[in-house]
């Protein structure tokens, strides 16, 4: 019961995908979360609903519509083709885009909650002391909202690692490009190779446990040093 080269390739690809998606999502979701946490606009409700929508559809159904949308006749497909990028299904970056849609609520919401919990006072206090908006974000908001960012990172990463339905629909199971661990485990199960399925699942569970344990331990320490101000 050991992992084949094919299995190991899927592990690396999955880690690459989950890391890429998490980093991009943190960059993309932070302004969205910031805006949602601080705005008084009427558009807050509709935007919050849009962010939560990927939770509503089953992943394979969401994947099916992404396949149509990102295909040569779909809106996203037409757009990427006009940029000369071709179409996204069956590519690594197609999976990245799809995973970002799928994991968006898991990253936006913890950050939004954390920023809301800080409230206006620390930010206004910093402003009276002469800190500019960017300074305020990096020296006040970011440290205070750190637990929220940690949770967002963990959920975004774990959710992408565990993603299956969407990848199955738009991936095309291309080795080294779109064949991730979840699909590989599924293939093993479907072809009755239960021993390989168990081995790969076991490795993934142990690895994920270790990563999550490290992150949570790190987070606890952060809190103990006095990161709880304002909460």
């Amino acid at each position: 019961m050991s992992l084949s080269d094919g299995d190991i390739a899927t592990i690396w690809l999955t880690l690459r995908l989950a890391t890429t998606v998490t980093v991009l999502l943190l960059i993309f979701a932070t302004p969205v979360a910031w805006w949602l946490a601080r705005t008084m606009s009427w558009f807050k409700g509709p935007l919050s609903a849009i962010v939560a929508l990927p939770l509503v559809l089953p992943p394979t159904v969401l994947g099916f519509y992404l396949l149509l949308a990102m295909g040569p006749n779909g809106a996203i497909g037409q757009f990427t083709q006009s940029l000369g990028l071709g179409t996204l299904p069956f590519t690594f970056w197609g999976l990245v885009v799809a995973s970002m849609v799928y994991s968006l609520p898991f990253v936006v919401q913890p950050i939004q909650n954390a920023i809301e919990a800080i409230g206006n006072r620390p930010i206004e206090a910093a402003a009276t002391l002469g800190a500019g908006p960017i300074d305020r974000f990096f020296t006040v908001v970011l440290p205070l909202a750190k637990p929220g960012f940690m949770t967002a990172t963990i959920l975004g990463f774990a959710h992408t690692v565990g993603e299956f339905g969407i990848v199955l629909m738009i991936g095309g199971s291309i080795p080294g490009e779109t064949r991730v661990v979840s699909v590989q485990i599924y293939d093993h199960v479907e072809s009755l190779e239960y021993a390989q399925a168990h081995a790969l699942s076991g490795v993934m569970i142990i690895f994920s446990f270790v990563v999550l344990l490290l992150l949570y331990t790190f987070q606890r320490k952060g809190k103990a040093v006095g990161m709880t101000y304002g909460r």
Binding site: F64, L67, F90, M169, V189, E190, L192
Partner: protein, 259 residues
């Protein structure tokens, strides 16, 4: 009043139980779902038994049946799963038989695109070639045999995209994401189906026959329904429906000549 209520309840439950006894639970491989629906429609016209269909992948059904799923009949997409169930002792002896033999087609959702298919595959004038995952789906394994028979494996390999099964290969082509795809002929034929695009029917000699086997499961020992339905599958009427959907019958294999 209370007694009356109870009597009603008991009567109704008894009625429900007697109806229940007429149900036959059947697990069907996804590629055969449309054909099976037509078969059941025909069967239920003349029978008191009610067929309850579950559609899914053969691998999942195998795992579920091993864990005691209540199916009485299993129509697999291949021979491997019924064979494995037989070895596990979960099958009524000598009940296994080939109910259909699949035909492969190379399909494009554009008119005339599948013409001169060998040249097209050789020259690579298409974006992607969708195939069912050869490891999972017999149609996928047969697709690879066809490509190797044509000597086109190396030329096309970089353009393969694998669907979990033929249904997904079909989706890849119908959504326009792949120009060409190996799919089951049964997906293009059948009742009330509009033909779209163009296809090349793969000659039978280019791959091993895609035999799909069915078995009577142990849970069918208690009831007659499953056997009655199996008998129906063997009638000419049923066989004609199966043929109409683009499958070959095992007993016609020798008499019918290649296209």
């Amino acid at each position: 009043m209370n007694v009356k209520k109870w009597l009603c309840f008991i009567l109704l439950s008894a009625l429900a139980l007697s109806l229940e006894a007429k149900l036959v639970h059947v697990a069907v491989a996804a590629n055969f779902s449309n054909t099976m629906k037509s078969l059941v429609k025909e069967f239920e016209k003349t029978s008191d038994y009610q067929i309850v269909l579950s559609f899914g992948s053969s691998g999942k059904f195998y795992a579920q049946i091993k864990q005691g799923a209540p199916y009485e009949l299993f129509f697999s997409a291949d021979q491997a799963k019924p064979d494995a169930l037989e070895k596990d002792g979960l099958v009524i002896e000598n009940s296994r038989f080939t109910y259909a033999i699949g035909r492969l087609a190379v399909w494009s959702n554009r008119p005339n695109f599948a013409n001169k298919i060998k040249t097209k595959l050789k020259e690579g004038t298409f974006n992607k070639l969708a195939i069912a995952n050869p490891k999972l789906a017999p149609y996928g394994a047969a697709s690879l045999q066809v490509l190797s028979h044509l000597g086109l494996t190396d030329d096309t390999q970089a353009k393969w995209v694998r669907g979990e099964n033929v249904a997904q290969a079909y989706q890849f082509v119908s959504s326009g994401n792949a120009d060409l795809g190996f799919i089951a002929l049964s997906q293009l034929l059948g009742r009330n189906k509009m033909q779209q695009g163009s296809y090349w029917l793969v000659p039978r000699i280019m791959h091993h026959p895609i035999k799909q086997d069915a078995v009577l499961l142990r849970s069918a020992e208690k009831s007659q329904g499953a056997q009655v339905f199996l008998d129906f599958i063997h009638t000419t009427k049923a066989q004609n429906i199966i043929a109409e959907y683009g499958y070959l019958m095992s007993n016609r294999l020798n008499t019918e000549q290649g296209i």
